[in-house]
Amino acid sequence: MANYYNDNKDLKFHLSHPLMQKIVALKERNFTDKEKFDYAPIDFEDAMDSYDRVLEVVGEICGDIIAPNAEGVDQEGPEVVDGHVNYASGTAENIKALVDAGLMGITLPRKYSGLNFPIVPYIMAADIVSRADAGFVNIWGLQDCAETLNEFASPEQKEHYLPRVCKGETMAMDLTEPDAGSDLQSVQLKATYDEKKGVWMLNGVKRFITNGDGDISLVLARSEEGTKDGRGLSMFVYDKQQGGVTVRRIEHKMGIIGSPTCELVFKNAPAELVGTRRMGLIKYVMALMNGARLGIAAQSVGVSEAAYREALDYARERQQFGKAIIEFPAVYEMLSVMKAKLDASRTLLYETARFVDVYKTYQHIAEERKLEKEERDEMKEYQRWADFFTPLAKGISSEYCNQNAYDAVQIHGGSGFMKDYPVERIYRDARITSIYEGTTQLQVVAAIRGVTTGGYLKKIREYEKADLKPELEKFRRTLISLTEDYEEAVKKVHDAEDNEFLDFHARRLVEMAGYIIMSYLLVLDTNRDNSFLRSAAVFNKIAKAEVRSRAEFIRASSLEDIGHYKYEA
């Protein structure tokens, strides 16, 4: 009878952020859908009430069905039968529950039978599902791909595919190949246009494809013969009902075992072109990846939550030396740091989701009418924030999720190493989050622009100006001083005018910005709800120590130093 939404008031807090007023008004185009759809909201309060109630259903399904199934799914796993995937029985049950509850096309417009929710409540649902079962969220969360179809596909394609997603058909995005992992420019899967049949045919192999046997797949393929780079790639949609793709095998993985990671063989698989030729990687995959990265950030936060709760419960129950281990400083410090990291990554997640919401909604409105100049400017500004914050959120929350899973096992001691407790699974599941959809190292490559263009600094200055309760001033003073350290470090690396020097320190610089931003966000959260004070105080201390240590590292670093780190290839 657990409810993973109702039992976590932090979620309701983030859902009720002041910017939601703007997001909902934009998303609902001033509530015009209520004339056409009996489930459309009447006004802002009604919309917020709907998100709250629907998330309560998500929380119920997670508490009553998905979480209890997680252990069985981890043991059973999916299997390949006749070239197709059979999910573990618990996975099938989870999908059915979410389909019956109408939770498959959460962000899609109502005309395709979607719920037309903003990204924020959708990401919150992903946060909740991830806490219940990190592997399962991949299958359910691939409804993200429908968002990409909704952005770039033709009206006919949208009519054809989007209602099917809302009815419960699952999706996949087929990008990676044996020789094209992080470097997607080298994708080789061949797309040839069959003049006689008037369709594109796909041939080749894809690898590491999550839910590769999904009903509807977006496929990145080389449509321009003889090309070798990203500009020869186009995006296709493949419908499983057409046939032509078989699953050769499912990978044996460390974690997220319930999520089938497939090797796919395309043999004259018919597919439709999405959008414009040659734009596959440059435009569509970038959009797809940004959505997916936000999804992984949500997954990371959900797994962090699960790890923290397991550790907290265990530390309260476990008695040693005549008392509960939570009473020992060594243990309670770990727990409070876990909670601070959890809260920090969650507040960064929802800040990012709000930025994405505003700009994506403007993008959709621009398809309906010409935007006013102020609207266009605002869209561009939020898009910039979304671009800077998405890799930051994904990178940091996935690292924190791993750290929290590690500490959760540590708090369990020897028991945590055994299969008897959920932390063992959580620890394995956490590991992939900092790897897929771009490793942390690649998130830094995307995020460093936020450092070099002054983007993060601009946002930090905005946070700095906020009205705060007097008792929170001390945190601001610390953060102003840390911002000086950050600026000094950025200047030093910039003045060296050397790309390798910049690459070498990139992660340090991005993390410095990240610590300051998250610490500000927690202070702002505390300003709105005092229950975050603990985490704000703990994280402010962490931020100070971590930013200063990086500042010191960069201060003492020179171009010549890099030689001590380099290897011959």
């Binding site: 489930y39 629907v54 259903v57 509850a101």
Partner: protein, 291 residues
């Protein structure tokens, strides 16, 4: 086959599964304020059986009928969120203090006002009284046959229903003619969860009384969206004899309520002869277990 007209009997009950210290008042009655009000669990199983028939046989309608105070309208909404078509709240001070006999009388009279019905499905029993009497009594009062302890309604021909019964020592498949009353066990399929779209569609559904009491801004909705009006029946809407309702219609008198810890003791084996049954009855009457 044409669709079935199904009525699901549902009750709002105090959640007795997580009973705290303050669950009972000093006078031995249930402290309803201390226990959250929920949809009786086996009635949810009953609703699922009805909804499965609706999924399967187009044209089937599922209506809920619940008797209780005004707040029991929540039961109707919970049913609507899961796929029921409409519902009736039977509510009146005249029903207060009803035992199972008065309850089933009132329900049967209300059903007669709800038009043609093919199938009435109820949970086996409610977790507050555990009597398992209301379903069967409603059948008797309507003169319908009844199939109890059902785990699954297998199919319907439109004239008959085939159902699987879960009994103490096995299962039994029976076929019974419509109209019919079926009571469903907790071993039946769990009820589907609320559907997001239906939840948003029906969340403003209210009875007339609720609307009068509410200070909500959405009152203008009820004319343009008739499905948001939950039908309310009072004693004036059913043809009932006053003395068969409420306290006066309830022969059951609660003598006392006590906490009983069940212990396995030696079983008493009775022969199926009149004398043994007689002795048992006398013993039960003497101990005030019955009577």
């Amino acid at each position: 086959m044409k669709g079935l007209k199904i009525i699901v009997l549902a009750k709002q009950v105090p959640d007795t599964r997580n009973v705290g210290k303050d669950a009972m008042k000093a006078d031995g009655t249930v402290n309803r304020a201390a226990l959250p009000a929920i949809f009786n669990p086996e009635d949810l199983n009953a609703l699922e059986q009805a909804l499965q028939l609706k999924d399967r046989y187009p044209g089937t309608t599922v209506s809920l009928l619940t008797m209780g105070p005004g707040r029991a309208a929540e039961i109707i909404r919970e049913g609507l969120y899961r796929g029921a078509d409409d519902g009736v709240l039977l509510t009146d001070r005249a029903f207060a203090g009803s035992d199972t006999l008065a309850t089933s009388y009132a329900l049967a009279q209300a059903i007669k006002e709800m038009g043609e019905v093919d199938l009435i499905i109820a949970g086996r029993q409610a977790i507050d009284g555990d009597t398992a009497q209301v379903g069967p009594q409603v059948a008797e009062k309507l003169g319908f046959p009844q199939v109890t302890y059902v785990e699954k309604i297998i199919d319907s021909t439109g004239k008959h229903v085939t159902a699987l019964r879960r009994l103490e020592n096995g299962v039994e498949t029976v076929k019974a003619p419509l109209p019919l009353v079926v009571t469903v066990n907790s071993s039946a399929a769990p009820c589907r969860t609320r559907n997001a779209t239906l939840l948003m569609k029906y969340k403003h559904a209210r009875t007339v009384t609720e609307r009068q009491e509410a200070s909500e801004d959405y009152l203008y909705l009820y004319d343009s969206r008739p499905y948001l009006n939950i039908r309310e029946m009072t004693v004036n809407d059913i043809k009932a004899e006053q003395e068969q309702l409420g306290l006066s219609g309830s022969p059951t008198k609660v003598k006392k309520i006590e906490n009983v810890v069940l212990q396995a003791k030696d079983a008493k084996v009775l022969k199926p002869v009149d004398n043994d049954i007689d002795l048992l009855m006398k013993e039960l009457i003497l101990s005030h277990t019955i009577g």
